[in-house]
């Protein structure tokens, strides 16, 4: 009897310890964000005190962000860039992925090895020549530089889609060929609707990547009117040094849309990272 009670007590202690550890870890992950949120609602004088709850929440700090930087303009720019690149990636990568997985043509497999090889090339090597390319096209400081390089797909996305197409059963496709469907009809009507999970993964990863990108917009854009939110935040940080409440309010505002994306597409996002190793920066 006492043995039983001891066993129960021990498992209760274990459970409590586990939950305590989990809460600790979750707290570490969230704390910088919560602290930024708290700082964004403080006055300039209160921001130095270590209280978590601001005594009088200063929602005006958020209003000030809108007057110090063209927030909505930059928000729309970022949405435009992320939206165009994501749509382009999904369309062209799935099209090429379908071709690599199912359509035979001479040199296909050699070409695919070339694709895999380009996955190894780090951004460090390509950013300088890409900058010079954009200059030659006359695209520096224009939205084209933000959209066109990613619009027609990437080796990474094509690889991801090709792997997924290969897991789909072929019988529907064979039936469609017998019915006289063209390759385009097979792709558009039959296979694409089946690849939704892979498309979600590619779309979410691309969206987050463009939204969070910094080096490329930093190199490409000088004008405020076409800048991204990240660029706006860094400019603001340079201009309003140590005005923590406003800087934190801006950070929270930039973070919020992505948290929303994360909340909606969490499964696709996390699975995409687990499979591809993308986003470990």
């Amino acid at each position: 009897m006492s043995y039983l009670i001891r066993g129960v007590r021990r498992s209760i202690v274990r459970g409590v310890a586990l939950y305590a550890a989990l809460i600790g870890v979750a707290w570490c992950a969230l704390f910088p964000i919560l602290w930024a949120l708290s700082g964004s609602l403080k006055t300039e004088s209160e921001v130095a005190t270590p209280t978590v709850m601001p005594s009088h929440p200063q929602w005006a700090n958020y209003g000030e962000v809108f007057s110090l930087m063209p927030f909505w303009r930059m928000f729309l720019n970022t949405v435009l860039y992320a939206g165009c690149v994501t749509a382009g990636q999904v369309f062209f990568c799935s099209l090429a992925g379908y071709s690599f997985a199912r359509l035979r043509f001479r040199g296909r497999d050699t070409l695919f090895v070339l694709y895999l090889a380009t996955l190894m090339v780090p951004l460090t090597v390509t950013v300088i020549p890409q900058f010079i390319l954009m200059r030659t096209f006359g695209w520096t400081d224009t939205p084209w530089a933000m959209i066109v390089p990613g619009l027609f797909g990437s080796a990474f996305g094509t690889y991801l889609m090709r792997q997924f197409f290969r897991t789909l059963p072929t019988d529907l496709e064979e039936a469609a060929i017998l019915d006289g469907c063209t390759p385009w009809q097979i792709y558009w009507r039959i296979l694409l609707p089946q690849t939704k999970p892979a498309i979600m993964v590619l779309a979410v990863l691309t969206w987050v990547n463009v939204w969070n990108d910094f080096l490329w917009p930093l190199v490409m854009i000088q004008r405020q009117s076409i800048a991204t939110l990240n660029l706006g935040l860094v400019w603001m940080q340079g201009q309003y040094v140590s005005r923590w409440p406003v800087l934190m309010a801006a950070s929270i505002l930039i973070l919020l849309p992505l948290l929303l994306v994360y909340a909606i597409a969490q499964r696709a996002f996390v699975r995409g990272i687990a499979v591809t190793g993308f986003g470990g920066r």
Binding site: G15, L18, L22, V25, A26, A29, L30, P32, I33, W35, A36, V47, A48, T49, P50, F92, C93, L95, A96, Y98, S99, F105, Y115, T118, V121, P122, L123, T124, V125, T126, I128, P129, F131, I132, L133, F152, G153, P183, N212, F214, L215, V219, N230, L233, V234, Q237, W244, M248, S251, V261, Y262, Q266, V270, R271, I273, A274, V275, G277, G279, R281
Partner: protein
């Protein structure tokens, strides 16, 4: 047979479609990936500042980098310290966190969702948020250290501490990533192994070391390679956290910052390209070495 009547063989038609479907994608990769790659190699043998014609200088850029530029050695050392200072804590912490999140407990999916949140935060926002906590005079970290009687730490003002701060920020960002990958691998470990071990009387810690870690070795090596690749090229978080020049002094002057300065501040494109290729070579070497090492140790099993 109808297609023969049409004069078009289905296989021919499919081959034509196959080429057409790849074409736009291939064109983009050729223009924005393959051409830049070749052009970058070409530039690394040139002296070029965009405004005067490029001049062929042979290996001079590389020679200068290795023999004449003391800042290269500094950047290399800082990058190595930063890479190790991110990699080791991130891997150790994420092993423990992944093991915790792998438990079948009530509400575990909520904890998972929360722990992965930093993945959605951009490096720029991350760096700005942490700057607020690192503030020397009245930042949260120093206030809390003050409670236990430790004097103010010059987090971002002292070259050595700036590197520590930078590593802390990167660990915060890397742990969720590593945890995602390791957790996925841990979920693939068959339960029967744990049950057998429990019957043999193995403790939870013992099971973790003798079953979990060896069986997720592949994922572990994947995490190590990706973390090294990212840390080695770090730019965003360094630029935003310590003001873009790798300061204070040369405390956070890493290779990514050096590359950016030579290319986009000094407009010395030849030299910067040479540096980029040296970085690429080191990265390839490290990746191959790491894969070799894991393969050997898994053979020993």
């Amino acid at each position: 047979m109808t297609s023969i009547d049409d004069g078009v063989m289905p296989t021919k038609r499919r081959a034509r479609a196959g080429r057409a479907f790849v074409a736009p994608n291939l064109a983009a990769i050729a223009v924005f990936m393959l051409f830049p790659l070749g052009f970058s190699l070409y530039m690394s043998f040139q002296k070029w500042d965009l405004f005067t014609p490029a001049k062929f200088v042979g290996l001079a850029n590389f020679r200068h980098l290795f023999t004449d530029d003391p800042l290269f050695a500094t950047a290399l050392r800082n990058t190595a310290v930063y890479t190790i200072g991110t990699l080791v804590p991130a891997v150790l912490i994420s092993l423990v966190v992944a093991a915790l999140l792998n438990r079948k407990l009530k509400g575990i999916s909520v904890f998972r969702a929360v722990v992965f949140v930093p993945l959605a935060v951009s490096s720029v926002v991350t760096a700005v948020m942490w700057q607020y906590m690192f503030n020397t005079d009245d930042g949260l970290l120093n206030t809390m250290l003050g409670w236990v009687g430790i004097g103010p730490v010059p987090w971002l003002l002292d070259p050595g501490w700036a590197m520590v701060s930078l590593c802390m920020v990167s660990v915060w960002k890397s742990v969720p990533f590593a945890t995602v990958v390791l957790l996925a691998a841990m979920q693939g470990v068959p339960h029967t192994l744990y049950e057998a071990a429990r019957i043999d009387g193995a403790s939870a810690t013992r099971q973790f070391i003798s079953i979990t870690v060896p069986l997720i070795r592949g994922a572990l090596s994947f995490v190590v390679v990706i973390t090294i690749i990212n840390a080695f090229q770090a730019f965003d978080q360094v630029y935003v956290l310590t003001g873009g020049h790798g300061g204070p002094e040369t405390g956070t002057y890493v290779l990514g910052i050096m590359l950016f300065q030579h290319a986009f501040t000094f407009l010395d494109f030849g030299y910067a390209s040479a540096l980029a290729w040296v970085m690429f070579a080191i990265l390839l070497g490290l990746t191959v070495l790491q894969l070799r090492l894991t393969r050997r140790s898994s053979l020993e099993l």
